[in-house]
C-alpha cells in the first residue's frame, strides 16, 4: 500500500473534518450563556470524541489527522474567527500525528491519546477574546480609567483560564474517545464496518 494519501483517504478526511467541525459548533452553543464559556472545549471534546474514534479506524497513513485539524481551523478562519486557530491546529495536529505514528496507526489507546489532543486545534479561536480584552484594557488606561477598576474587571476572566480550558478540552476529548471506543466495540466492529 502506498504511503501517499489516496482518493479514499482524502474523502474520509473530508467527511470527518465536517463531522469534527459540526460537533465543535454544537459544543460551542454552550457559550450562549457567557458564564459557561470556559466549559466549551470540554463539551466539544466529549461530543467530537466518538466521531474521531471511528475516524481513527480509517487512518493508516501519515497526515490524515493533521489535515483534519487544519481543515477545521480553515473553516473557522473563513467564518471570520481570525487566523489564530491555524496556529493551534498545526501544533495540535503535529502532536497528534506523532502519537498516532508511535502506535503504528493500529493502537487504539494511542489513537485515544492522539484524539484527546487533536481537538485543541480550535483553542486558538479563544485567543482574540483574551488579546482584544487586554488591548482594550490598555486603551482604557490611556483614556484615564483607574487601575483598580480595570483589575476588578480582569478578575472576572483571568488570562490563565485559557490553560484551564485547554486542559478541560483534553479531558473532555479523552472521555469522548472512551465513549467512542465503547461504540466501536459495540457497533462498528460487530457490523464489520471497521476495516
Amino acid at each position: 500500500m502506498s504511503k501517499r494519501l489516496e482518493v479514499k483517504d482524502l474523502i474520509n478526511i473530508g467527511l470527518f473534518s465536517v463531522l469534527g467541525f459540526v460537533f465543535m459548533m454544537i459544543g460551542s452553543f454552550l457559550a450562549m450563556v457567557p458564564v459557561l464559556m470556559p466549559f466549551v472545549p470540554l463539551a466539544q471534546g466529549i461530543l467530537v470524541g466518538p466521531v474521531n474514534m471511528l475516524y481513527s479506524t480509517k487512518i493508516k497513513k501519515r497526515g490524515m489527522v493533521f489535515i483534519q485539524s487544519l481543515l477545521i481551523a480553515l473553516v473557522y478562519v473563513a467564518m471570520g474567527h481570525g487566523p489564530w486557530a491555524l496556529l493551534t491546529a498545526v501544533i495540535a495536529g503535529v502532536i497528534a500525528e506523532v502519537i498516532l505514528k508511535s502506535g503504528g496507526y493500529t493502537d487504539v489507546n494511542k489513537a485515544r491519546l492522539a484524539f484527546s489532543i487533536a481537538p485543541l486545534c480550535t483553542i486558538g479561536n479563544w485567543l482574540p477574546i483574551f488579546i482584544s480584552r487586554n488591548e482594550y484594557v490598555k486603551q482604557m488606561l490611556e483614556q484615564g480609567y483607574n487601575q483598580e477598576f480595570i483589575d476588578k474587571m480582569l478578575s472576572v476572566m483571568p488570562n490563565w483560564i485559557i490553560v484551564v480550558m485547554a486542559i478541560g478540552g483534553i479531558i473532555g476529548a479523552y472521555i469522548g474517545c472512551s465513549i467512542g471506543m465503547a461504540f466501536l466495540k459495540k457497533h462498528f466492529k460487530k457490523a464489520g464496518m471497521e476495516k
Binding site: 479514499k8 457497533h187 460487530k190 457490523a191 464489520g192
Partner: protein, 465 residues
C-alpha cells in the same frame, strides 16, 4: 467487444460466480438479472475494477476489451472507457451543483473548458436533462439524480456503460426518462450492461438477457425473444414481469381517485378504519393539499405522480411534520399519532439503532416469546445476535416487519417497500403483509410499483390534483 472469459469470482475462498463466459457488443443492451445476492453487482464491479482494487475479491479468468486484458488495469485507467451508474442516486455524486457534476469526469481528463461546456450542452439536450442544469443536486428527486448520472456517463463518451439497478428507487415517469436515455446511448453504439430486477421497461430494448443462477448464468439472445418467451423465462427463473402494468389493469379492484385539493368531506367515511379529516399543508403560501381521505382495514395502496404530495401526506399522518388535520382510528381521535403508527421507511438504514437484531426487537416489546416467534416468522432467528447493520437490505426490511408484527400499533405505513427487492423477496413481503392483515392491522403503502400492487390484494387510492 468486451468479453468475459472463464471468469471465476471468489470472496474469502468461497466462489460466488463460476465460469462466466459472456460477450458484449457495441450497440447492444445486455440485461443481467437474477435473485438478490447472486453476485450480479459483483460482476459489474469486476468489469469496472472496483473488485479487486477497492473491494476484496479473488478474480480468475479474464476480462478482455478490444483484445486487451483489463485485469491488470486500475479503476483510474479503466475509467477512460468505462462509466458506471450506481444503484443509490444519493451517494454517487461528488459535486453539489449538477453542471459541475456533469463536467467532473472531463475536468479530471484535463479537457479544455469550452469543449466541456459544448459536450454538456449537447448531451443534456439529447438525454433530456437540460432543465436539471445548474441545480443543487440535493434538491433533485431520485429520478432526476439518476438522469444526471446517466447524462454524465454520456458526456464521458466512454464506450462501455454499466448500470447497477438504476431504476430501483424511481417512479414510472423517471423510468421512462431512463429508458429514453438508454435508447439514445444505444444509438451511439455503446456497450450497455444493466443489472436489474424490474424488467418491464427493458422488454423492447434488450438485446441479450442473462440470468444468474447457482453461481453460473443462462444466456438468451434476441432471436428467441417473443411475448411468449418472456413469459416462460420469468416463470422459469421466478423473475419479475416483463410486461408493463397499467392503471387500467386495476379496474376490477376498489379504486378511488382522491383530489388533494377538494375540501368537502365525502359521506362514505363512517365505517372506515382510518379517517384523515381536513388535512392541510401549505408551503411558501402554496397549498400542497387540503382534503380528507379514509382507509379501510387491510391493505391500502397510495399511488400518484411524483411531487403530488404523497410523502408529505404520510408524514403529516404519522405526525412527523407540522400541519393541520385530525386522524380518527375506528371512530376515535388519535392524539399521539406516532404511538399508533409503525413506519417502514424507504431507507431502512436510518431505522436501526441497537447492537443486535434481538435488542432491536427489544425496543418494541419486552416479551421474549413474542420476539422469538416473530424472528422465526421472518427467517432471522439464526441471526438474532448479529448487528442490524450487517444484514442485507432485504433482511433489514424483514427485521422491521418483525418489529411491526410484535408492536401493538394497529396502523403500519410503508414507503416504497419493493425498491431493490427481487421477485422472490417481493413474494415474501406480500406473504407477510397478508399475515398482518389477518392480525387485524391496517396497512398503508406508498408505491410506484404496479407489479407489486397487481400481485397483492388491496384497495388503491390515486392521489391527484
Amino acid at each position: 467487444m468486451l468479453s468475459l472469459q472463464n471468469l471465476v469470482l471468489k470472496f474469502d475462498g468461497e466462489s460466488i460466480l463460476e465460469n462466466i463466459n459472456l460477450n458484449f457488443k457495441p450497440g447492444e443492451v445486455t440485461v443481467i438479472t437474477g435473485h438478490s445476492g447472486t453476485g450480479k453487482s459483483s460482476l459489474l464491479k469486476v468489469i469496472n475494477g472496483i473488485i479487486p482494487e477497492y473491494d476484496c475479491g479473488d478474480v480468475k479468468g479474464d476480462v478482455l476489451y478490444k483484445d486487451k486484458s483489463l485485469l491488470g488495469m486500475s479503476i483510474l485507467e479503466r475509467s477512460k472507457f468505462i462509466s458506471t451508474v450506481f444503484q443509490n442516486p444519493k451517494t454517487q455524486f461528488y459535486c453539489i451543483n449538477s453542471t459541475d457534476e456533469l463536467a467532473f469526469q472531463l475536468e479530471n481528463r484535463c479537457i479544455e473548458r469550452n469543449l466541456i461546456l459544448d459536450k454538456i450542452h449537447y448531451y443534456s439536450d439529447v438525454l433530456d436533462s437540460k432543465d436539471l442544469l445548474d441545480k443543487n443536486i440535493f434538491e433533485l428527486s431520485g429520478g432526476e439524480k439518476q438522469l444526471i448520472a446517466i447524462t454524465a456517463s454520456g458526456i464521458s463518451e466512454n464506450e462501455i456503460i454499466l448500470l447497477d439497478e438504476p431504476s430501483s428507487s424511481l417512479d414510472y415517469e423517471s423510468i421512462k426518462n431512463l429508458k429514453r436515455a438508454i435508447i439514445e446511448l444505444k444509438k451511439r453504439n455503446k456497450i450497455i450492461i444493466l443489472v436489474e430486477h424490474r424488467l418491464f421497461y427493458l422488454k423492447d430494448i434488450v438485446d441479450k438477457l442473462c440470468v444468474i443462477e447457482n453461481k453460473t448464468f443462462k444466456e438468451y439472445t434476441k432471436e428467441y425473444f417473443s411475448d411468449d418467451f418472456f413469459e416462460r423465462v420469468s416463470e422459469k427463473h421466478n423473475l419479475r414481469n416483463f410486461n408493463e402494468i397499467f392503471k387500467s389493469d386495476f379496474l376490477n379492484r376498489q379504486y378511488e381517485k382522491v383530489d388533494m385539493l377538494q375540501k368537502n368531506t365525502p359521506s362514505n367515511f363512517a365505517n372506515r378504519s382510518i379517517t384523515c379529516l381536513h388535512f392541510k399543508k401549505t408551503y411558501d403560501k402554496n397549498t400542497i393539499f387540503d382534503f380528507s381521505v379514509s382507509f379501510n382495514n387491510g391493505i391500502n395502496f397510495i399511488i400518484g405522480q411524483n411531487g403530488v404530495g404523497k410523502s408529505t401526506f404520510i408524514n403529516l399522518l404519522m405526525g412527523t411534520m407540522k400541519g393541520k388535520g385530525e386522524v380518527f382510528y375506528k371512530g376515535e381521535k388519535l392524539k399521539k399519532r406516532y404511538e399508533n403508527i409503525f413506519a417502514v421507511m424507504q431507507d431502512v438504514n436510518y431505522q436501526l439503532f441497537t447492537e443486535s437484531v434481538w435488542q432491536e426487537l427489544g425496543t418494541v416489546t419486552k416479551q421474549d416469546d413474542l420476539k422469538n416467534e416473530a424472528l422465526r416468522k421472518v427467517h432471522l432467528f439464526n441471526k438474532k445476535e448479529m448487528h442490524p447493520s450487517s444484514l442485507s437490505g432485504g433482511e433489514k426490511q424483514r427485521l422491521l416487519l418483525a418489529m411491526s408484527m410484535v408492536s401493538q400499533k394497529p396502523i403500519i405505513v410503508f414507503d416504497e417497500p419493493t425498491s431493490g427487492l427481487c421477485k422472490m423477496q417481493m413474494d415474501i413481503l406480500i406473504g407477510f403483509l397478508n399475515q398482518m392483515v389477518e392480525q387485524g392491522k391496517t396497512i398503508i403503502i406508498i408505491t410506484h410499483d404496479f407489479e407489486f400492487i397487481k400481485q397483492c390484494d388491496g384497495a388503491i387510492y390515486e392521489f391527484t390534483k
